[in-house]
Amino acid sequence: MQIVQLVISGLAQGCIYGLIALGFVLIYKATETVNFAQGELMMIGAFAGLFAATTLGLPYWLVILAAMAATALIGLAIERVVLQPILGHPAFSIVMVTIGLSYMARGLVTMIPVVGTDTHALPVPFRGEIFRLGTLVISAEHIVIIAATIVLCGLLAAMFHYTKVGIAMQAMSQNQLAAYYMGIPVKRLSGLIWGISAAVAAIAGILLAPLTFVHANMGLIGIKAFPAAVIGGFTSLPGAIVGGLIIGVVESLAGFYLMEGFKDVAAFVVVLLMLVFKPTGLFGETARKKV
């Protein structure tokens, strides 16, 4: 029973990693840029939620929507102001720009007077409630995280398969130039993708908030989402979630059964093994190039 308990809490944590990794994959698939500031977008989303909940006093579901909208706008703005000008430059410079963004986000958040470097608690309606299933004890936070992830994935999948925008995005992720020639507004879509991935990050932030509190450095968890994205294959949306779940469960089990300290490196050991044996990941597509 112990192990089931650990797996469930691992799955909940893994959902967070998966959601952040989903943001990486969305952006990488569509625009071939890697956003090192994804964790910071999550942090911004959590703070937006905090602001909506405490200062504006909105109900929980409105808090989520408000945070999503605010973060999506920030994502759009980042894409327009910083990334459009260097579109098409080597991956290295884009990585450096997003690293710079993550630094700025962390610094700017601590510069807001009431926020500072303190930790804040996001009020949630289900705090502290637990459910008993036989000998299992499951907290409401974990159930909400898992349920929200499932709903969100369903929505995203539906969008990519049944809406015009989604199908256009799929086309764009296969070949940007060809998509452009077919009349797909590639520039506008890449902005939209950044908005969507920022909104996903905001949800991750709000879901994570009851577990770890809201603080300026919570975005560093984004570093752990890289392994999740790599394990799933960097170009696969379901892969990101599966990778996140794997990382979450491995971490949870390593934290209990192995020595102290293994919990923090388990994700990175797994990703190193993955890179050595199967660099394309579990669901990664192997792209071949004709010369």
């Binding site: 260097i86 690293i99 601590t110 890289f226």
Partner: protein, 358 residues
């Protein structure tokens, strides 16, 4: 303006191209030698630190700027060097032996991390080195009987020929000697066939391979040389700070090292030195300017990372060759004085094909 008319191949690879260079670099070295006469002890420690970062920047420039390999775990190599030095110094090894051991051990670790790097490229390599950096950080924190863990480790001062190189001018001169040696090693490496192979790999792996460059060998070599630089610098760092703890060698530190190289100017040796100066000088400049700012802004803890991040973004957006690029433009302006035109350094949009298919 100076014209150099080259008639022989040797002129192209000369260490010193013309007498002007000899004069200015000579002047620079004289100035660096004279600094201890005028500087306060605090400034001298900062100068030593700057020279140490210059050595790391040389190594990272070789890897990132000249071989085109991304490393997000360079602080780990520094940590390997620093802890090796500290442990050996406590065991009573003479300095030159222990610093060689530090460099060698870091190089070996560099080979180990270079091996998975053969299979992955670009972004994946960045993540592999990130993973490696995190693992090393955790290993240091856990191997308490060797490294002191989170409680930290005190490093004894250097004993050489019965002299104490603890701090002050003596240690500064030691760092200066190592920095100059590192610069010479890097320059000589870059004008050798090995260096040209590195640059070929950076520009196009496929072309390099078809010209007979063995990718695996040269990538691993680049990793290990770069790691050795970081290891030696880490050894000096241990003596300069004299207290080591795992939180000095985090992933954030690695990213800052990479920032240093990018802001200084990717792909130039001068850029490495400029980056190190920037990294050390920026906090000092911010501190100096603080009294002029409104107190709410000056007291904020996030001021330094914000400025750092902003500088990085502005560099990549507007001056991709970093501080060195700006310096080149300035020089060209004065060289060509009445004839400088605005569009001379305009960037071409270099659309490259899909990165995934490389």
């Amino acid at each position: 303006m100076r014209f150099i008319f080259k008639t022989r191949y040797e002129q192209d690879i000369n260490l010193i191209q013309h007498n002007g260079q000899l004069f200015w670099y000579g002047l620079l070295i004289v100035a660096l030698l004279a600094i201890p006469a005028a500087a306060s002890p605090y400034l001298l420690t900062q100068m030593s630190q700057m020279l140490i970062y210059t050595i790391i920047a040389f190594g990272l420039m070789l890897l990132a700027g000249f071989t085109g390999q991304m490393s997000l775990g360079h602080a780990a190599f520094m940590a390997v060097g620093a802890y090796t030095e500290a442990v050996l110094a406590i065991a009573g090894w003479p300095f030159f032996l222990s610093v060689a051991a530090s460099g060698l051990l870091a190089a070996i670790v560099g080979v180990i991390i270079g091996l998975p790097a053969l299979r992955v490229k670009g972004l994946y390599l960045g993540i592999a080195t990130l993973a490696f950096g995190t693992i090393v950080e955790e290993v240091i924190a856990r191997a308490e009987h060797v490294t002191g863990g989170n409680a930290g480790l005190m490093v004894p001062p250097i004993q050489l020929f019965g002299l104490r190189f603890a701090d002050g001018p003596a240690f500064y001169y030691l760092c200066l000697g190592f920095a100059i040696a590192a610069a010479l090693v890097l320059i000589n490496l870059l004008r050798s066939p090995t260096g040209r192979a590195f640059v070929a790999i950076r520009d196009s792996e496929i072309s390099a391979q078809s010209m007979g460059v063995h990718l695996a060998t040269y990538k691993t070599l680049s990793f290990s040389i770069s790691a050795a630089f970081a290891g030696v610098a880490g050894a000096l760092y241990a003596h300069n700070i004299r207290f080591l703890s795992p939180d000095q060698f985090t992933v954030v530190q690695s990213i800052e090292l990479l920032m240093m190289v990018v802001i200084g100017g990717l792909g130039s040796i001068h850029g490495a030195a400029f980056g190190a100066i920037f990294l050390i000088a920026l906090p000092q400049v911010i501190n100096a300017v603080k009294p002029l700012m409104p107190s709410a802004l000056a007291e904020a803890t996030g001021l330094q990372p914000t400025i750092f991040g902003m500088m990085l973004i502005l560099t990549v957006l507007f001056e991709p060759l970093g501080i060195y690029g700006a310096w080149l433009k300035l020089k060209a302006y004065f060289d060509l004085f009445p004839f400088y035109r605005k569009g001379m350094f305009r960037r071409q949009k270099a659309f490259q094909k899909s990165d995934r298919l490389k």
